[in-house]
Each structure stands twice: as C-alpha cells, then as structure tokens.
C-alpha cells in the first residue's frame, strides 16, 4: 500500500539544539520556505539530557535579544572548582592552572531540555511546523541516489508486526533538503554515514556515556552558580571519565558522570561507577540530606575533528552530535551543535536560491569559529588514551602553552566496540550495594525517567544474530550489555539451567550505548513507536 506523501522545502529530523536552530535560522533568512521538524519524543525536550554549562555564542548569533524573550538561560556561573579525587581525599586544582577552554565565567548553568522547549516556541512563532511523537524511521532516496526525505514510523503494530486496532500507517515526507539532527549515534545518521561513506579517511568515532541526576539539596549546601568538575576516583588511571556538579536555580544540583566508552574491562559498570562516585566525602557532603528527583543517561560523541564525518551529501545534511561537533575539552556540544545548525540553514537557503550544491557547507564550516574551536581541541581526547596522568600533562602543554596549536594531530586508534578485553583476563569489579539514600539501583532510577513504551510493539533493539549474546558474548565478555546499559534493559536469565538473553526494551531511555559498545556490533537501535522513551523534565 502506498503511503501518504507531504512535500516540504526542508525536513529536519530531531528537535534538539542543532535541529531547532536550523529551523529558526532558515525562517529568519527566508520566511517563505516550508520547514517541518520531527521529534521522536512525546514533546520537545523530553529526550534531551545534557549537563549543561552553556556558552551563549551561537545563541547570541541566532537570537541576539534572547534575554528580552525570556530564554531559560538565567544562572550565570560565578564560581569554579576542579577536584582530583583520591579514594577518600581530594585535591583542589587551582582554576588559574586550568586551560582557558575549561573556564566558564561567561557561561550559564541551564537545562538544555528547557532551552529546547523555548527554541521550539521561537521556531513555531516563525511558522516552523513541529511534530513531536513522530520518529523518522526510514530514509527515502531519489532514483539518482540523493536523499529524497524520510518516512515516519508505522504506529500500532504488535510484537510480531501485525496491525492492531490503533494501526496508523507512517507517511512520507519529501523535501528539497533533509537535515539529520538526531543527536549522538542517530540511527538514520549511522546509515547515511555508511551509505555515502561520510567517514572515509576519518578516525573511528569515539563516544562516552553520560549520566545525570538532579538533586534538590539543603539550602546550606547550595551555591547557585557554582560549577565543579572532578577527575580521578572511582575510575582508574586508564579509564577516561569525570564528573560534573552544577548548582542550578531552585536549590537544585545537576550531578553527572561521563565515562569514555573505550573502556577495556567488560566488568566495568558505568552506572555503578557513577553511583559509587557519589559516596566520595566531597560529593556526599553536598547531596546529603537532599533528594534525588531525576535520573537519566545518554551517549555523547567525543571523537572531535579527527572523527568528524563529511556533513553534506546529495539532498541532505548531517549536523550537531549526529555528525559529532562536540568540543571534548570544553565538555560542551550545545553551542557547536547550534552553530552547525546556523551554517546548515545558510547553506540550504543559499543552495535553494542560487541552485548551488550542498557541498558549500564544508567551506562555510571550515571558515567558522566552530572549526577553529574543534581544531584547537583535537588533541586532548586522544592523549587520554595514554592514561589520566599523561593525558593531563599533555593537555596542559597542548592547551595552556600552545593553545591547541601543536603542529601534529593525534589519532583515535580504535572504535569503542573494539576495546573490550576478554573477561577471563580482566578483574571482576565488586560494586557496593545501593543504600537508597545516596546510591540507588537501576530499577528505582529508570522509574524517575518516566520511561514507557507501548508494551505490545515490535522490539526496537534488534539483534543481527539472536544466538550471539549467549553463545559468544556471554562466554567471552561476560555479556557486558548487562552492565553498560544504564537502565538494565539487557539481562541474562537462567531458566531450567538454560541461559537466556532478555531484552526489556520498554525500559530503554534511548541512550544508544548498546548500539555503540556491543563488541560484535550485534545490537541495532531503531526507533520505537512515537512518543515512547523517557519523559525528562528539566534535564
């Protein structure tokens, strides 16, 4: 049966900072263009999770009077701390010894989800049509191989793919230009990179998994505007990661942890490292007596310039974290994602008006400040493959003495799914049990995300080989999916002495970690029915 078709000038996939910025900028440049934006979450912002200390540079360019328009960008950073954590001690690193990319005095502590909601209001006021609850599940191509648009997911299918009473067929959205802005490891972006070989000649992409909790803490422990980062414990010298503690408004603290997905020990559980981190005296003292009100996790993209794929292809652009514009030493990706969206909009308007090829994106990108930033940042992340201590020494030299201008570029050598060592040569890690005050288990955590997927629908975490988890991954790597998944989607259950790989897909918070880290790339994340997934508030 043929699907219904709608035609637009531009279709944007994803309602995060880059997609929304593209939509707004296009309308500012040419109000006559029809722009449609799709978002898989039930509302804009509900799948957004980020630290977030926000640099306003791109927002200043996009909407200079954002302050007058009451943008939710209010809490200015007024104090900074950087701690090196030992098991029970901490070393306060003087902030003047931090590279300038890690200084935040002009930045704001924000909820990126709320900023996106606000951006969506601006976009709608300009006439952008925004449709939350509609995942783009399929890329459509023209006969000449260029991207024609996307198709939305069929709704109302049961587990076996049969139509239920509520069945609603997906539809085709055709566009002159389709913009993919799905965020880190977008499932269509992944296909485009493969089909158009956008990553040809680039280093393998690097990822991390980031956790975030929001705590309401005691007034005496709260210092609105304070930004603190830590490195060190509980991770060992070889594992890349660190924490953030941002004191936001309303006595809230945004507490988070990021771990590089290039970790080697299959027994490592990022979730439990984060929980353990909170028991450090210098962290516990902040949140003690407070209450955890939100939890979430999301993969982030860390490869930087060396891994950044080509961002244009016939008929489409790939932008923001879907491509990988995050600035790792800054630990910021929102402003660069937004800038990539501004450039996308300029590219699209120019190419439609003057009938130019979308490849003009590349030149515009290279001339922009975002390229300069990423170029200066490029050597930091790879240097940490030598361990925390050497990484810091090198970063000091690279960032403080040379300001990112060293005349060479370090390479990322491995993709994250290649870095795990066999379980039998790695130590097991014994994580402490949660105390349900400071630390928690995955079950009570996923509860806070408001996650739900209609139960009777096709499983959206697909296995290429359904026997592989038990036959190979369990044997060789002790099935790390049980540990890297931040909400316990994957379980090994023992039934009548037979081991069974269980996928609790209804708990999935769309972080994409499994799609990245599975050692044989056996798990593919595809879009579930629209509106499913977490319902984050001010994450």
């Amino acid at each position: 049966m043929s699907r219904e078709v709608m035609e637009y000038d531009v279709v944007i996939v994803g309602g995060g900072p880059s997609g929304l910025t593209t939509a707004i900028k296009i309308k500012q440049l040419d109000a006559n263009l029809n722009v449609c934006l799709l978002e898989k979450a039930s509302e804009i912002g509900a799948h957004i999770l980020s630290g977030n200390v926000f640099e306003t540079r791109a927002l200043d360019e996009l909407i200079p009077n954002w302050k007058d328009l009451n943008a939710p960008v209010k809490t200015k950073v007024n104090k900074e701390k950087f701690l090196f954590l030992g098991k029970s001690k901490s070393l306060n690193w003087p902030t003047w010894l931090l590279p300038s990319v890690q200084k935040n005095h002009n930045n704001y502590i924000i909820s990126l989800a709320n900023l996106c909601r606000w951006l969506a209001e601006q976009a709608e006021a300009l006439g952008v049509e925004i449709f939350p609850g509609f995942p783009a599940s399929e890329i459509l191509y023209n006969e000449d191989g260029s991207v024609k648009g996307i198709a939305t997911q069929d709704m109302g299918l049961d587990k076996e793919g049969n139509k239920k009473d509520s069945y609603e067929q997906g539809m085709e959205l055709h566009a002159k230009v389709t913009v993919f802005a799905e965020g880190c490891r977008g499932h269509l972006g992944k296909k485009l990179i493969e089909k158009f070989e956008l990553d040809k000649g680039k280093d393998p992409q690097q990822y991390g998994i980031g956790f975030k909790e929001i705590w309401e803490i005691k007034e005496e422990n709260h210092h609105e505007g304070l930004v603190m980062h830590t490195a060190g414990w509980p991770l060992d010298n070889k594992t890349y990661g660190g924490s953030f503690v941002y004191h936001a408004e309303n006595k809230q603290v945004f507490l988070g942890y990021v771990i590089g997905l290039d970790y080697k020990n299959p027994y490592l559980s990022p979730f439990d490292e984060f929980q353990r981190f909170k028991t450090h005296p210098s962290i516990k003292s902040i949140i003690e007596g407070g209450k955890r009100i939100s939890y979430g996790a999301r993969a982030l993209i860390e490869g930087g310039l060396q891994s950044l794929p080509k961002m244009h292809m016939p008929g489409a652009l790939l932008i923001g974290c879907d491509a990988g514009t995050l600035n790792m030493p800054k630990i910021k990706g929102s402003h660069t994602a937004m800038k990539s969206g501004i450039i996308a909009a300029e590219t699209i308007v120019e190419s439609l008006k003057e009938n130019k090829n979308l490849s003009i994106y590349e030149d515009k990108f290279k001339k922009s400040w975002v390229y300069k930033e990423l170029h200066a940042a490029r050597n930091v992340k790879p240097s940490f493959s030598w361990g925390l201590v050497l990484g810091i020494i090198f970063t000091g030299i690279d960032q403080i003495l040379f300001r990112g201008k060293l005349p060479f570029t370090l390479k990322h050598k491995h993709a994250d799914h290649e870095t795990l060592k066999p379980a039998n040569v790695m130590p097991k890690i014994d994580y402490p049990k949660p105390d349900n005050v400071i630390t928690f288990d995955k079950t009570s955590s996923v509860y806070l995300t408001g996650t739900n997927h209609t139960e009777n629908q096709p499983v959206h975490l697909q296995l290429k080989d359904k026997d592989l988890p038990i036959k190979y991954t369990l044997e060789k790597f002790a099935e790390p999916a049980q540990r890297y998944c931040p909400v316990g989607v994957y379980e090994i259950q023992n039934e009548n002495n037979l081991e069974k790989f269980v996928i609790n897909s209804q708990n999935c918070i769309h972080c994409k970690t499994c799609d990245i880290k599975e050692p044989s790339q056996n798990i593919t994340w595809v879009t579930p029915e629209g509106g499913g997934g977490p319902k984050y508030g001010n994450m």
Binding site: S42, E43, S111, D165, S166, E168, M171, G450, K535, G537
Partner: protein, 249 residues
Amino acid sequence: MKILVAVKRVIDYNVQVRVKEDGTGVVTDNVKMSTNPPDDNAVEEAVKIKESGKAKEIVAVTVGEEKAQETVRKALAVGADRGVHIKVDGIIEPLAVSKILQKIVEKEKPDLVFMGKQAIDDDCNQTGQMLSALMNWPQATFASKIEIKENKLEVIREVDEGLETIEVNIPAVVTCDLRLNEPRYASLPNIMKAKKKPIEQINASDLGVDTKQRIEQIKVEEPPKRKAGIKVANVAELVQKLKNEAKVI
C-alpha cells in the same frame, strides 16, 4: 446526533509525581502533561460513533488554563470537529467544572456528553455524575461498552461485582472506562488539519459560574515509604509472624 466530549489536562501517567516541598501541592513545572487517559477513550468512542454514521458532530470541551487547549487540539486531531476552551486559572473543583459544562451543554444542546470516568490527578470521579444531576439527565458511569439503540443507549458498566448492563434514555451523560476501546493515534495530516479547526475560547467568569474553591486543602504530603519486606523460612514461621507480629490472623 451531536456528542460533547469533555477532556482534562493532567500530569502524564508516566511521570513520577512529586510533592512540593512546602506541601501546597504537587510539582507541575517542567512536567509532561497529557490528556487524562479515560478522556482519550471518551473521544475515541465519540469518533467511532460518528464514523458509524450515528453522530453528525463532535465538540471537544476543556476547562482550565491556557495550555489546556492542547487537549482539545489532540481531540480535534483524532476526529472531533470543533473545540471549546473555557479559560480559568488555578485549582477548579468538580462541582465548578460541572456547572461550567452545564452552561456549555445548554448552549450546544448535545444529545450525549462523554467524558472519562475520573481524572488521574485528583481521582474525584464526580464531574459526570454532578453534570447529570444538574441537567437532570440519566447517567451511565464506568462504561466499557456503548451501543446506540433508537433513543436509548445500552451501556455495559464495569462495577466491582462484574459487569452491569443498563439502558438509559438519550440525552445522557456517559463516563468512560479504559476498557471501552483502544484510542487511536493521531496521524500527521490530521494533526495539521486539527491546527485549522476552530476552538472557541470563553472566560469562565463570563459564564456566571461561581468557581470559588469550596474545599480547603490543608497539606499535601507523600504517602509513607513502604518498609522492606522480609523472607521467611517456612509456612510455620509465616503463620507465627502473621499472628504475633502483624496480628492479622
């Protein structure tokens, strides 16, 4: 036939509700809001009746703040023809809602009024019943099946004892159970069309209805945390504990 469907905007059923620190209510800032789930069933049933040719027009109505309009918009996207939004800020109790709906019913003159059996936020389960009393119309509550027969409705009700089948004369007020049907999804083109359907806005104060709160809310607090359970070794120990510690047998 004309059907009026009342919908309410509530905190989404997947969200973990949090009590405000000062005990004055629950947190609604940055919280996902949705249509009250059984109200979706009410809309779906009205649309099904219209599709079967037995109804000509469906009017969706909501009472609440500016954003409550979203629930009407959603009803329009799945098949309601037009909307009415009665604007009022702050807490509004079922009696006031019923009186507002009475005014709308008198104006719109529908043959049937559908709504959810209760709202998942206050769980009052009163509005439908009070509206039927105010209108002096029959009521069929907790409907899990509705059949239209000439000038009557045959309704199967979900009651504690099982299923009860009743017959009511039209016009009537029907409150809907979740088992009544499976609400459909709004399709993209229908959402777009819904954006162009009219929603009439009326200020509650213009209806001459007293919306003052009659119930004083003293304090809102979380239910006490459940204590962790214990494992018993055998039946004898269980019986002993039930008898001596829990004192339930």
